[in-house]
């Protein structure tokens, strides 16, 4: 399992490296000391797991994740950060408190491994450039890894995108057009200028005036498909 260690303290990195030495199946691909270096390393090495410190010069671990298009699996590490721990707890993210206890580390790694096996079994065969499967999203104190197949609608709001994900409506700091390029075209469809819908979550389709279509999404709103896009939609759905 390819692993990256991100921490601004050399001693903390050394300690984590030593602790991870007890797990021969964990391969440490690299280390990074700040957010920019870490982003570069993640993009070039594409590690399976990142151990990520929260407080770093030039930005926090959360900042790093929200900058990434394809966030890897992450275990946060922090010495004492009341707010961060709160954020982890409300968001059900994995974290380890420094000094790291070997037992906790073992448990976190075991969980990670089980998750990866499950996703490999469930997922499709790995292609060269797999479409985006999850996004890291922050909304106030809460953050999530949002599985994209559960998102029913992406709505543009200015330069941002609002996700309709179950009961949550988190915002993503990216434009809809940029996001669209990264989404799986087989699953997501541009309904109109401002919205992208998840085809797999469509419940009903109704005909509207002038060739428009109205789709009702499971756990989501009703979305209008513009006239131009409706033609495309029909073509795709009636193959």
């Amino acid at each position: 399992m390819k692993t990256l260690i991100v921490d601004d303290e050399p001693l903390a990195r050394r300690e984590l490296r030593r602790l991870l030495g007890a797990f021969p199946w964990v391969q440490i691909a690299g280390e990074a000391g700040d957010v920019d270096e870490a982003r570069l390393q993640i993009e070039t090495l594409s590690p399976a797991v990142v151990f990520l410190d929260v407080q770093m010069p030039g930005g926090t671990g959360f900042d790093l994740l929200s900058q990434l298009d394809r966030p890897p699996r992450v275990v946060f590490t922090t010495a004492y950060d009341h707010y961060a721990v709160k954020a982890f707890d409300v968001s059900a993210l994995d974290y380890l408190l420094k000094p790291i206890e070997p037992e906790r580390l073992a448990a976190a790694l075991a969980k990670m491994r089980a998750n990866m096996r499950a996703s490999v079994l469930a997922g499709p065969a790995i292609s060269t450039d797999p479409p985006l499967e999850q996004l890291f999203v922050r909304d106030g104190p809460r953050c999530w890894f949002v599985p994209l197949r559960e998102v029913s609608v992406f709505s543009a709001e200015g330069n941002y995108v609002r996700l309709h994900w179950g009961k949550e409506r988190p915002m993503l700091g990216r434009s809809l057009t940029v996001l669209e390029e990264k989404l799986d075209g087989r699953r997501f469809f541009r309904a109109n200028r401002r919205q992208i819908v998840n085809l797999e979550l469509i419940q009903t389709v109704e005909l509207g005036e002038g060739g428009r279509l109205y789709v009702q999404l499971r756990e989501g709103p009703e979305i209008e498909i513009s006239r131009r896009q409706a033609r495309l939609f029909r073509a795709r759905m009636t193959v």
Binding site: D8, E9, L11, A12, P57, A79
Partner: protein
């Protein structure tokens, strides 16, 4: 509690209502801790569904008083209309008087009772009788009850004379037929007195109960607030972020560099001991404070490695001056936290101390991220408390100032008159 500590505690407790703050200096945490917990449990048990919440303070007094005054008026009306109805029916059925006359007389008497008791309650509330010692309260209540009974008695006589032409009401005549008329008149007084006494006993009994409950509640809240403040103070002295990071560094060193690890443990122990001792001392020499700062910086440079460089310029004359304990330490901590540690390449921390004229001037200068907004800094409370502490210990001429006017640079300056 010494002045410096008190200043810090006062700062922490600034948000509390005035009566809470007054006692802070005198409260001993340990001696109260247990009884408070026990009391709290019993309070929550008894008043589990009460609108007064123990944790969510301050409780809403308006809602409570609105509720109690509603209960008060309901009871007031029920009690006195029962009293009047009893006499009216007595007068109609035993003394064979017409309804209209009976209602007039006893209506007036009932109104007199309601207003007299209400007046007494108002007086007790306005002059806070419940705060008085038991003897003083009892005297006032007894005198009060006698006076209002006399007033009610006079109203009874007056209305009876006006309606029936006799000072003794017909119902009294009917009930106490065996007694001579003069005794009946006296008895009429007692009938009014007994009811007023009963009323006052019930009213003040309930009011005192509630008063005591509220006092206990406030006590609990006071202690909770004080405990929270004490905990915050302790936390700020021990600085958990530093502590856990230091432990992590030491853990990393143990395997490869046991010598450095041992040294680090010693430095950490000295730092902690100093921070804990700061609770008992107000002033230390600059030399002693800087010894501690050096230990602290040694541990931080384990963590920050080559990112931290320290330059010290201490005039020998300045080093024997006395300064508030932990003051320089706090500024150095801030310089690291918001300055050096937040910079990728780190930087140089400068500590200057000199005597200029009749002042000791200490400066802590550090680089900081340029984009940082001064308002966003979380050390504002610490700085304010330290300024206050300085002022209390050395008077208004002593100053602490954090200068963030130069982009990318922070300069903290302490000026203490010698």
């Amino acid at each position: 509690m010494s002045n410096g500590r008190k200043a810090v505690a006062d700062g922490l407790l600034r948000g509390l209502p005035a009566p809470f703050r007054l006692h802070v200096g005198r409260v001993k945490l340990n001696s109260y801790a247990r009884p408070v917990n026990q009391r709290r449990r019993s309070l929550t048990h008894v008043h589990g569904s009460s609108t007064i919440s123990v944790a969510g303070y301050p409780s809403s007094p308006t809602r409570v008083s609105a509720e109690t005054s509603f209960v008060y008026w309901v009871l007031q009306i029920i009690v006195w209309s029962a009293y009047c109805l009893m006499h009216i029916s007595g007068e109609v059925f035993f003394a064979m008087m017409p309804w209209s006359k009976a209602v007039t007389v006893w209506g007036a008497v009932g109104a007199a009772h309601v207003s007299c008791t209400h007046l007494l309650r108002g007086l007790a509330k306005r002059h806070n009788w419940l705060m008085l010692a038991p003897a003083a309260l009892l005297t006032r209540v007894i005198v009060g009850v006698l006076l209002i009974s006399l007033a009610c008695y006079l109203v009874t006589i007056a209305s009876s004379v006006a309606v029936y032409g006799s000072p003794v009401t017909p119902v009294m005549d009917a009930l106490y037929r065996m007694l001579p008329p003069r005794t009946r008149l006296v008895d009429q007084f007692f009938s009014s007195l007994i009811l007023n006494v009963l009323w006052v006993a019930i009213y003040f009994g309930l009011a005192m109960q509630r008063h005591r409950y509220r006092a206990e509640l406030r006590q609990v809240q006071l202690h909770e607030a004080w405990q929270a403040a004490e905990l915050r103070l302790l936390k700020s002295q021990l600085n958990p972020h530093f502590l856990f990071n230091a432990l992590n560094s030491v853990r990393a060193l143990i395997a490869d560099e046991p010598g450095r690890a041992q040294e680090a443990v010693t430095q950490l122990a000295r730092t902690l001991r100093y921070a804990l001792a700061s609770g008992d001392e107000d002033l230390v020499t600059l030399t002693r404070e800087l010894e501690m700062v050096n230990d602290y910086l040694a541990i931080e440079s384990l963590r920050l490695a080559d990112r931290l460089e320290v330059v010290r310029e201490i005039e020998p004359a300045a080093s024997t001056m006395r300064i508030p304990i932990m003051l320089v330490q706090m500024l150095v901590e801030n310089a690291i936290k918001h300055g050096i540690a937040a910079l990728k390449r780190g930087g140089t921390l400068r500590i200057h101390a000199r005597l200029a004229g009749s002042e000791l001037i200490i400066q802590i200068v550090n680089p900081r991220p340029t984009g940082e907004i001064a308002e966003a800094r979380t050390d504002g409370v610490g700085l304010k408390n330290s300024s206050e502490r300085l002022r209390l210990l050395f008077g208004p001429a002593a100053k602490l100032h954090l200068d963030l006017s130069v982009s990318g640079l922070a300069t903290a300056e302490i000026r203490i008159p010698t």
